[in-house]
């Protein structure tokens, strides 16, 4: 259970981690710079277990994996968006940041509402209401269950995905 940080439509990876802050692989530095210009209060206010609730095309633009890493390092438990840009979604799954698409949630959530998300089942509860999102597709679910893409391929080889 955490609080919802509500963001709008079209939040780009440039907004999540601007180019001037991603010349590093240091996770703690990335976490501190998460949304530093788009929502300057975010990094100081976010607590482990909080959830980002966003509108359409979340994570559009640059393929920088620093973006999901920055969100993960900030302590965010999951991101729920009305839709995700393809590369961001794949990157998030690959590094073990839970992400799920739920179009109906956005209008129902206010910034600061309590929220709990179970990405593997698609169950989302907030402010006394429950939403059932489509659970992740088979490959994404398999990577999530393994932890990361590296964990899955290192142990199971590509057969792990070919069998899906």
């Amino acid at each position: 259970m955490g609080r919802a940080f509500k963001l709008g439509d079209g939040v780009s990876t440039d907004a999540i981690i601007p180019g001037r802050y991603n010349v590093t692989t240091d996770l703690s530095a990335l976490g501190k710079a998460c949304l530093i210009e788009a929502r300057p209060d975010f990094a100081a206010a976010v607590q482990p277990g909080d959830v980002i609730v966003a509108g359409r095309n979340f994570g559009c633009g640059s393929s920088r994996e620093h973006a999901p890493l920055a969100i993960q390092a900030s302590g965010v438990k999951a991101v729920v968006a009305s839709s995700f840009a393809r590369i961001f979604y794949r990157n998030a799954v690959n590094i073990g940041l839970p992400v799920i698409q739920c179009d109906a949630l956005f209008e129902a959530v206010e910034d600061g509402d309590t929220i709990d998300v179970d990405v593997s089942t698609g169950s989302i509860s907030t402010a006394g209401r429950t939403f059932q999102a489509e659970p992740p597709a088979a490959v994404a679910l398999k990577i999530m269950q393994a932890g990361t893409l590296v964990d899955l391929i290192k142990t199971g080889g590509w057969a792990a995905i070919e069998e899906v």
Binding site: E37, N57, S62, R64, N91, I95, W158, I161
Partner: protein, 410 residues
């Protein structure tokens, strides 16, 4: 059988592949650059496997070249050490990764290429399937030579007619983005076809394929044809073409009806006819990038700049996309035209596009760029404005010190 994407994957896997299938496929090349390589190296090391093929990994220094901070220099050093340790053959510091992948001959019709940069879609102009991914995906390719795809459905974009004077492929791409929106092709492949594409040079097609990711496309492909064959300089173009394709959507656009377009802040799909914003004063003009940093783009700008001066209030920067292009522009006299006109010419690379190194914008400033990203903060202050347009619009605007229609410049 099928779309270009289905044809490419079917030929490669030796079996019929259809949109919607989940497949694991070998790739020809895996590319990453100075910002995305360090995280790819981390993923690769966690795999605890040898490098798959030192000749099929392409590492490029272009986003921050030369290094401008100790942190950037540290990342470059880490990449150089990795390349040396594993005998990586293709290590470049002579231009933008996406231009080099084409220039060096890595992009081939029917090929499969993945890159740790969203604009890896660019190479599709030569008829290969090329997609952008993140560092972890690329690091796993470094170890295994393979990756997984959900074979995408395709949007077919038919560009009819011919380009009017002062209108370029950038304008057509922006017009398509206006119609489909910033996520209009999310998870989908895009085929660019029709008589306007058939009449285009490879430089022009590369602009279309490049901008495909900016409306969400996973790959942007052009059918290889005689133009492709001439460009590659050999008879390598196979009979690759869509065969009885089923498209998710068809989009038709008559090039003859398109006016110069401009993407206004804060996003690429806020596209207007240029006339809507003509006259807005500019603090900066940037000409270059993987969208429009090729020789033909520079030739257009040189034509406008010849014998003229850029407006004193507008700092104008020209960044040739690669060393080869820079040297050809030197020979053709373009560089001299730029410098005589008062523009700053910088070393080949990504330049001011990503606000990390030079040409950074102050709060309240307004820039016009030939690149492909205008998110707030992209080129510097989040309180600066970025407009995106063709090289012709950029050139006319630099001369006027304000957004200007190239058709009004003789």
């Amino acid at each position: 059988m099928g779309t270009l994407t289905e044809e490419i994957f079917s030929r490669r896997l030796g079996r019929r592949v259809r949109a919607g299938d989940t497949i694991v496929a070998p790739v020809d090349y895996a590319m990453s650059h100075d910002v995305t390589t360090p995280l790819a190296i981390e993923a690769f090391r966690k795999m605890e496997m040898p490098l798959w093929d030192p000749e099929r990994v392409v590492l490029v220094f272009d986003h921050i070249l030369p290094a401008n901070t100790v942190a950037a220099a540290g990342l470059h050093k880490l990449i150089r050490e990795f390349a040396e340790e594993h005998g990586v053959v293709h290590l470049f510091q002579e231009g933008i990764c996406h231009l080099l992948m084409v220039e060096k001959g890595f992009a081939r019709p029917g090929g499969i290429i993945v890159g740790a940069d969203s604009h890896s879609t660019t190479y599709g102009a030569l008829g290969c399937f090329a997609a952008g991914m993140g560092s972890t995906d690329i690091g796993v390719v470094f170890a295994t030579g393979r990756t997984w795809f959900r074979v995408p459905q395709t949007i077919r974009i038919e560009l009819h007619g011919s380009l009017p004077e002062g209108v370029y492929p950038k304008d057509l791409a922006l017009r398509v983005i206006k119609r489909l929106g910033a996520e209009g092709a999310n998870y989908l492949a895009v085929e660019w076809g029709g008589e306007a594409v058939a009449a285009m040079t490879i430089d022009q097609r590369l602009t279309l394929a490049n901008l495909t990711v900016d409306f969400g496309g996973k790959a942007g492909l052009c059918e290889p044809d005689e133009v492709t064959r001439d460009y590659l300089g050999e008879a390598e173009v196979s009979d690759l073409q869509p065969r009885d394709p089923e498209y998710l959507q068809r989009v038709e656009l008559d090039a003859a009806e398109v006016e110069p377009q401009i993407a206004c802040p804060p996003a690429i799909d806020n596209v207007k006819d240029l006339s809507a914003v003509e006259g807005l004063q500019l603090d900066e003009v940037f000409i270059g990038s993987c969208a429009n940093g090729r020789l033909e783009d520079l030739a257009i700008v040189a034509r406008y700049f010849e014998g003229r001066q850029v407006h004193p209030r507008t700092r104008t920067m020209v960044v040739p996309g690669s060393k080869k292009i820079y040297m050809e522009a030197l020979k053709a006299g373009y560089i001299e035209s730029f410098m005589r006109a008062g523009a700053i010419v910088m070393n080949a690379g990504c330049g001011p596009c990503l606000g990390r190194q030079h040409g950074v914008l102050a709060p309240g400033e307004r820039a016009l760029s030939t690149s492909n990203r205008n998110y707030p903060g992209r080129m510097g202050s989040p309180n600066a404005e970025i407009y995106l347009a063709s090289p012709a619009v950029a050139a006319a605007s630099a001369l006027a010190g304000a957004i200007a229609d190239p058709r009004g410049v003789s």
